[in-house]
């Protein structure tokens, strides 16, 4: 795990006067599953969007496979995205397309698959995330939250990406469904041999998915280590966060 897949150096991002990421440094190694934990509004989603080139930092460097993402040109951005998959917090499934068309979107639009082959491949991947082929022709609005997450996962992995991002994968799910999604994420990431970057504030999810955990607080990585290190650390921020205590150095606005 020595090869760095994603490298962030001194990344700064703000919206108006609100500083979201400040001098952020982080390495994600090839083949590892890194989980970034942190409270709401600490900049976790912004971090992922900066790495994907969806947001541009004011300052700093983001390297993916040694390719600079900050200021990347549009044509290079498409090539960059072709090696990435993403499971969005709300699924972000396209309402105007059926479930199988959502899953097979990249195959049809970018990889030149014909509809029949794309549909067969979509159904195969839907099966791999525990969904029955009967859901293939439904529209996303007809699915439950858990099913939408599975479809989103199927869409993220169908092109066998090298890097997969998971944005709050268990938010809004009951604990059992959350555990099912966590298992599927672990299976998919290990099966593909992909590098995974997950952001979450669900500690059960973090413990299950992560090889390594990093904590983001006020736009900075204030701690990182393995899952085992989580329970040994005496970092007061981490201790407060993983135990869900209201008392401690982390102050939340009410």
């Amino acid at each position: 795990m020595s090869e760095v897949k994603i490298k962030l150096r001194n990344v700064n991002k703000s919206f108006g006067k609100k500083v979201v990421l400040r001098n952020l440094n982080l390495d994600v190694y090839k083949g590892e599953s890194l989980v970034v934990i942190g409270g709401s509004g600490t900049g976790k989603s912004v971090l992922i969007k900066c790495i994907q080139g969806l947001l541009t930092p004011e300052d700093g460097s983001i390297l993916v496979d040694d390719q600079e993402v900050v200021g990347i040109e549009e044509k290079d951005k498409e090539a960059l995205h072709s090696k990435m998959g993403m499971l969005f917090q709300g699924g972000a499934l396209f309402d105007s397309l059926s479930v199988w068309e959502n899953v097979a979107f990249d195959l049809i639009e970018n990889k030149g698959y014909n509809k029949k082959d794309a549909r067969n491949e979509a159904i195969r991947v839907l099966r791999s995330v525990g969904l029955d082929p009967d859901v293939a022709d439904l529209s996303p609005a007809e699915l439950s939250g858990g099913m939408q997450k599975r479809v989103g996962l199927a869409r993220a992995i169908i092109s066998r990406p090298e890097i997969i991002f998971f944005d709050e994968p268990t938010t809004g799910l009951d604990p059992i469904m959350a555990d099912v999604i966590n298992d599927l994420i672990v299976e998919s990431v290990k099966g593909l041999g992909a590098t995974a970057l997950t952001i979450t504030h669900d500690m059960a999810s973090a413990r299950k998915i992560a090889d390594r955990v990093a904590m983001l607080y006020k736009g900075e990585i204030i701690w990182q280590g393995t899952v085992k290190d989580l329970d040994k650390t005496d970092n007061p921020y981490v201790v407060q966060f993983i135990n869900g205590r209201s008392q401690g150095p982390i102050k939340t606005g009410v």
């Binding site: 969007k49 969806l54 549009e74 090539a79 995205h81 917090q89 972000a92 309402d95 105007s96 970018n110």
Partner: protein, 264 residues
Amino acid sequence: MIILRKIENFLRRQGKPLVNFIFKVGELFIFISQTVYNCFTPPFYWRNFTRQVIDMGFYSLPVVGLTTIFAGMVIALQSYSGFASVGAESMVASVVLISVTRELAPVLSALMVAGRIGAAMAAEIGTMRVTEQIDALTTLSTNPFKYLVSPRVWAGLVVMPILVLIGDVIGIFGGYVVGVYKLGFNPANYINATLDELQALDITTGVVKAAVFGFIISLMGCYNGYKSKGGAQGVGEATTNAVVSSSILILIFNYIVTELFFSR
């Protein structure tokens, strides 16, 4: 000193809205240039284009038909009541023809389509924005401008002229119905008067206006949807802004195109 301070305070109050206005104008021009560039560069999403043509064209036919037929009927009635007083009733067919083809069919159809389709575009794209579907498109190596905006703009450019041509025929037919069945004109004379007055310029003006209006409707629908922020409230604002801004621009560009064709 007090006056100077008042002026300073006034300028300070005006500063932020002014900067915001300049920012918005700049943002719109960048959006237009990106739209035009992406309209002429591959790939082109035919399926999305076809869907927009059906939504914007086929499903707008009833509303365009109703608008133009009543516009033609009203013009026939109004012009008759005016011309009868000076003994120029024979001009009714000409007035209906010119009013419908040059002004009423393009402008009224465009305003109706702006309300129907411009709002729908802003709502759909705005919802896609706030539910991260546009980000999802980008992460799937698909340019949102080419996938969402370009097919809608092309559909607006192609469909509106066809709708207006159909509206021309229906509007003139409305005038004919009132002229013949209510005002007692001879049908053959009414048709001959219409055909005698028909000039290519009238139709061309209407078609050019329609293409411009189609571009405006699609552009403002996409722009307001694409830039929407927040949740349901942001999408609601985008929808309202799309209809209001495209309606105002339609009226402004109606004057500009008329000036280009008919100024001496």
